[in-house]
Symmetry: C2
Subunit: 199 residues, 2 copies
């Protein structure tokens, strides 16, 4: 790659490590950066440099946060008696985007996966149980992903919470909006059928 | 977007300004950065910060370079009597990737476009003519893009160079490799026909 000046080559190399960014895309992005005003490029570089320094975990729910408490936990208008358990901060963001949920969260940091050597101790399950014991929750919504690991994690947590006596629910599974029965996989169809609701 | 911590939001915002990076992709990239080792993220941020400071234009051919002369111009093994005229540094990179060209380049910085208010004075055409006058070139290859602006630019430069007496050529146009006649547009087909060569 002798024909790229080293500083460009370095940016291309660093960018191409990002997910779904190949060498070609990285090169296009690098040349785009070279066309921008220097302040704009500096702004991106600076934002990335500061990202890891400034971001830690919320001490209450383990969401990503640049303060002791994350934006959700520090929002007093949220329903503090409603707890939604998710695997990752990205799942929290997806739920927040819908605007439909007004309670608080608990981020596990993953799902149980014997294959990846992730057991209950690798997740923030103990912290969850302690939090529920100490808090005054009306309902705990298990919003782990609808796949094998997510299901297993939900079942595991549901059992743990049984003696506590709090209401434990699970997100509905069924047909995705805008879907077509013909192109829906069998498992989704079966769950849609099992979970059918009366009008 | 209250649910994203400000430093994350800032990276998402900066990333989403890049071409073909929407808000969703930017968010995925930002969360990916948060999972990496801090040194790796710092490395990307630093590379981007240094990019604009270190990169300027080659004083001879106007390719992007971190030195007075770009890697191509400072390579003494290149044929200094063969000059290839391209619109942008990215075009140069594409040609270099093929490895088929061993001469030097001249980067115009765009193409003539009355619609975008780009006339000959906005491009490095004067520099090109001076360079050809002062140098000892055997052939000038016009490798502007095969579109209206590129063609117009090539024709304009070819006329300018007529009195100089240097051989001026244009990249061949025709069927792309791996293409199919059935799905080739009329203009390409016509040019392929016009440019047909004997075995």
């Amino acid at each position: 790659m002798k024909h790229l000046a080293p500083p460009i080559e370095r940016v291309v190399y660093e960018l191409s490590k990002l997910p779904s960014v190949g060498r070609k895309t990285a090169q296009r992005l690098a040349f785009h950066l070279l066309k921008l005003a220097p302040e704009e490029v500096a702004s991106l570089g600076q934002a990335i440099l500061e990202l890891r320094d400034k971001i830690g975990l919320c001490s209450r729910c383990f969401n990503l946060s640049d303060e002791e408490l994350c934006p959700v936990c520090s929002d007093t208008r949220r329903d503090q008696a409603l707890l939604c358990v998710v695997e990752e901060p990205t799942n929290l963001v997806a739920l927040e985007r819908t605007g439909v949920y007004q309670g608080v969260y608990h981020v596990l940091g993953g799902s149980l996966s014997p294959l990846k050597d992730v057991g209950p101790d690798e997740l923030r399950i103990r912290e969850l149980v302690t939090r529920i014991h100490e808090g005054d929750f009306r309902e705990v919504i298990l919003a782990t992903n609808p796949n094998v690991e997510g299901e297993a994690t939900a079942v595991y947590i549901a059992r743990l919470l049984q003696p506590v006596g709090v209401a434990v629910t699970r997100l509905a599974q069924g047909l995705p909006a805008g879907g077509d029965l013909e192109y829906t996989d069998d498992l989704t169809l079966r769950r849609a059928m099992e979970g059918r609701r009366s009008y």
